[in-house]
Symmetry: C2
Subunit: 135 residues, 2 copies
C-alpha cells in the first residue's frame, strides 16, 4: 500500500484508504451552486491523472477501465478542489461541470426524489441524450 | 431482491441496487447551505427505519450493526429529502444536521483539502470530541 506506481503524491497515498478493489468513492459537487452531480469511483491511476490534468477521470467498474468523464459526450468536469474525509474512504471533488453530469441529459444523476409514496423526477432533461452519445 | 422483509416501499426496493453486501452508499448534504457532511452506507433496514422515523440511521460496516446517527453524541440528522441516482447505487440525503457530522468535532467529515502539495485542515473543530463521546 505504500508504493504508488501511478505516482500518487505520498501524503494522499497515506490518507486514502483504497478498498480491496483498489477503489475510493468520489462525490462530484458543482462549485458555487453546491449541487451534487454524481458519485463514482477512482483508483490510484484515475486520481493521479485527474490531479495532473485537472480534468476528472474516474474508474469505470462496469467497463473495467479509466473513465475520462466527458470523453465521449463532451460533458467534462474540471477539478476545482479535492477533499478527503476523516476515514479516507471517500473523496469530495469540487468541479466545474461542463453541461450535464448525467447520461440521461440531466444536470445531476440524483434526479429521482422520494415523495413519501414514490420516486418522482425532479430535474429536467436539458440535453437530449441522443446528441450526447448519438451518431 | 423483490421481497423486502424490512418493509422498504416497493418502488424504492425496485430503484435501489443494493450491492453484494446488501448496502447502498448514502451522501448526507446539509439543507440550505449545500455542504457535504459525510458519506456512509445503508442497508434495507437502516433506510426503512430512516424513512419511518425521519432520523437518519446508517449501517456501520465496522461494527456490523445499525448506526443511529447521533445516538451517542447527540449529533443527529433529520431527513429532509431522499434522492436516488440514475443507476440506483447511491442515495442523496438532504438533512438538518444537529451540531456536527464528524466524530472529530467538525461540521463535515471532508475537512482535509489538497493544496497541491499536501492535505490541510480547512474546517475548524467546533465541538470538543471529548464532550461528544467522553465520560
Amino acid at each position: 500500500m505504500t508504493d504508488s506506481p501511478e505516482g500518487l503524491p505520498p501524503s494522499l497515498e497515506a490518507a486514502i484508504n483504497f478498498d480491496e478493489r483498489g477503489l475510493v468513492a468520489a462525490i462530484a459537487q458543482q462549485q458555487g451552486s453546491g449541487e451534487i452531480l454524481m458519485m463514482a469511483w477512482m483508483n490510484r491511476e484515475s486520481l493521479s491523472e485527474t490531479l495532473k490534468t485537472g480534468q476528472v477521470c474516474y474508474w469505470s467498474r462496469s467497463r473495467g477501465k479509466l473513465w475520462r468523464k466527458g470523453e465521449t459526450s463532451g460533458q467534462t468536469q474540471h477539478l476545482k478542489s479535492l477533499s478527503v474525509d476523516c476515514d479516507g474512504d471517500t473523496l469530495l471533488l469540487t468541479v466545474e461541470q461542463n453541461g450535464v453530469a448525467c447520461h440521461t441529459g440531466r444536470r445531476s444523476c440524483f434526479f429521482r426524489q422520494w415523495n413519501g409514496q414514490k420516486l418522482e423526477d425532479v430535474l429536467p432533461v436539458v440535453q437530449d441524450p441522443e446528441t450526447l452519445y448519438g451518431r
